[in-house]
């Protein structure tokens, strides 16, 4: 409880955290509420209203696409999907990364050396190509996208957590606990884990925009989220095909994507200042 409260207090005092965090929360609220309020739905095609530019009449705030579907509702759906995929993927990478890093750091010695050598090896690979290979080999489905993106982004987390654990292990309070006969398991849970929360929060915030990038990259290439579902990457792809006649179809999802990524990156940077968690680079 006290840990959570002190984290919250430090976050509240940072203007950058509140600003970028507030914008993201606002955007998510609009993305969830917007489609409920709008008279249109994301599937409804309307051949009398093809490629209509943004206007306030008829509640076509963002205009329509080349099939006459309402772009506001589709964009908001895209925001929902993009953020959802990113958060789930980040949790996947969080679990893998923290478990891997904590074990390597706590066990130490030769096990640590081998585990980290493996991470170094994986670092050298252009991972996105493997994700694409995975998407080609198996049918594209939601679950696979989550897992694939999560499996890509755990390396940074593993490195950071390992470094942190390694230094925590040598600290006096851990040694005192060990001297008192506390078991390893209990030391990890009671003494090491709470001290990892800061860095983990910072790196999850920085992992989310990376996951968004991967997801939208795949969807842009037509390998990610499939029609009639949509994501910001898929909307940008559709916008590119129509950009000469209907530039709003490109500009609106592109702007939303850029704003979301910018907010997450600023939030991550600001959180790093809040926790004063410098990376292990």
């Amino acid at each position: 409880m006290t840990v959570a409260r002190s984290i919250w207090r430090r976050m509240r005092d940072s203007r950058a955290v509140m600003l970028s965090g507030g914008m993201l929360v606002g955007l998510v609220v609009v993305a969830v509420v917007g489609p409920l309020v709008s008279p249109h739905d994301y599937l409804q095609t309307n051949f009398d209203e093809l490629l209509r530019p943004p206007t306030t009449s008829g509640a076509r705030l963002f205009g329509t696409d080349d099939l006459g579907r309402d772009l506001f509702v589709r964009s908001m759906l895209g925001v929902q999907v993009t953020i959802l995929v990113a958060i789930v993927a980040s949790v996947v990478s969080l679990v893998i990364g923290v478990a891997y890093g904590a074990v390597a750091g706590f066990v130490g010695g030769r096990v640590d050396a081998v585990m980290m050598r493996f991470v170094d090896t994986l670092y050298a690979l252009p991972f996105i190509f493997f994700v694409i290979l995975l998407m080609v080999a198996f049918e594209r489905n939601f679950l696979l996208i989550f897992v694939a993106i999560g499996a890509v982004n755990w390396l940074d987390m593993a490195r950071i957590v390992r470094g942190q654990t390694l230094s925590l292990r040598e600290r006096e309070f851990v040694q005192a606990a060990r001297l008192n006969g506390v078991s390893s398991m209990r030391i990890i849970i009671r003494h090491i884990a709470p001290n990892l929360i800061g860095v983990v929060i910072v790196y999850v915030t920085l992992t989310i925009p990376q996951a968004i990038l991967v997801e939208s990259f795949l969807s842009f290439l037509g390998l990610g989220i499939q029609e009639p579902q949509t994501s910001l990457g898929a909307l940008v792809d559709a916008g590119v095909n129509q950009m000469e006649g209907a530039s709003w179809m490109l500009l609106i999802p592109a702007t939303l994507l850029a704003v979301i990524l910018l907010c997450f990156n600023f939030l991550g940077d600001a959180m790093r200042d809040v926790f004063d968690a410098r990376g292990g680079k």
């Binding site: 050298a124 190509f129 850029a258």
Partner: protein, 307 residues
């Protein structure tokens, strides 16, 4: 130095092997065969096709056939472009992709290092803040958003530059793809350079150089630049990977017949061998370039060699 180089080279071999095994297993664990999408064929024809592509052999045998081919530079036949091998396809498309990638990398290093150094010299000034705001934006906006926006602004609206690849001649058509590829890397390198340059400029040997009355430009060129470049140099490996990834999108958007476009086509057509071949080729390229970067690192920073 030679010992170090040889050790690092040996270290790259398991990585490359891991790449090939991982990629091969992924493709072969896939449900269904490469020819499933087409109409149903009589059983004996299907058996003939399987035999022609050695798909009827047990997996270990297929793997050894494949890997001995890879070692000889043969990545197998393409499943879709029937008359061509994967190696032929990559070989035909590679020069163009290499030109684009190298140009983007050069641009990224030159502009990124310059911008980062300027920001570091004017630490906390307006110029610094402006440059870093640009850099943050550049990092945040993905290539597949930057590229179409550049086309929309400079080619469709202003009509200064050609929008597409085909139908245009000359060096001008390289400009937009190269800029689109380089922008995120410029941003990243500028941030890296700024951070390390600020560190270096605060160190004792720079203060000594200042105390001797050397001009700022001399200090930067002869004393600060080399140590400040170390983090940038170690970013070169990931930068190559990022530019390869970006080239997939950029080639698709501009319609450039490079390796990236083959990759996307292959992925959408489920051309297993082509995709597998390109993944292995690109991964090997990245691993080897990482090796080169490591060796350069040891050249610039002598402390590395003695570890």
């Amino acid at each position: 130095m030679l010992r170090y180089a040889l050790l690092r080279l040996l270290g790259a071999i398991p990585t490359l092997l891991l790449v090939i095994v991982l990629a091969f297993l992924m493709v072969h664990a896939a449900p269904g065969g490469p020819f499933d999408a087409e109409r149903v064929l009589p059983a004996d024809i299907e058996a003939n096709i399987a035999a022609a592509y050695h798909l009827d052999e047990p997996l270990p045998q297929q793997f050894f056939r494949y890997i001995s081919g890879v070692l000889q530079g043969d990545l197998g036949p393409s499943y879709r472009y029937r008359d061509h091998t994967v190696s032929e396809l990559i070989g035909a498309a590679l020069p163009l992709s290499l030109k684009l990638g190298a140009a983007a990398m050069l641009l990224a290093v030159i502009v990124g290092v310059t911008a980062g150094s300027i920001a570091a010299l004017r630490h906390n000034s307006f110029v610094d803040r402006l440059l870093m705001a640009f850099a943050m934006t550049g990092i945040s906006i993905p290539v597949f958003v930057i590229a179409p926006l550049l086309v929309l602004l400079l080619a469709v609206k202003a009509q200064w530059l050609p929008a597409g690849w085909s139908g245009n001649e000359g060096a001008l058509r390289y400009l937009l793809p190269v800029i689109a590829l380089a922008l995120p890397q410029i941003a990243y390198i500028a941030r890296l350079t700024r951070a390390s340059m600020i560190d270096v400029l605060a160190s004792d040997f720079i203060r000594t150089a200042r105390a001797q009355g050397l001009r700022t430009s001399t200090i930067i060129r002869y004393h600060a630049l080399k140590p400040a470049m170390l983090p940038v140099l170690s970013y070169m490996g990931p930068a190559v990977a990022a530019i390869l990834t970006g080239s997939v999108v950029v080639e698709e958007i501009f319609g450039i017949p490079g390796v990236g476009q083959f990759f996307v086509r292959g992925a959408l057509n489920r051309d297993y061998t082509l995709v597998l071949g390109i993944v292995i080729f690109y991964a090997s390229l990245v691993v080897l370039l990482n090796l080169v970067v490591d060796l350069l690192y040891a050249v610039i920073d002598p402390r590395i060699r003695h570890r």
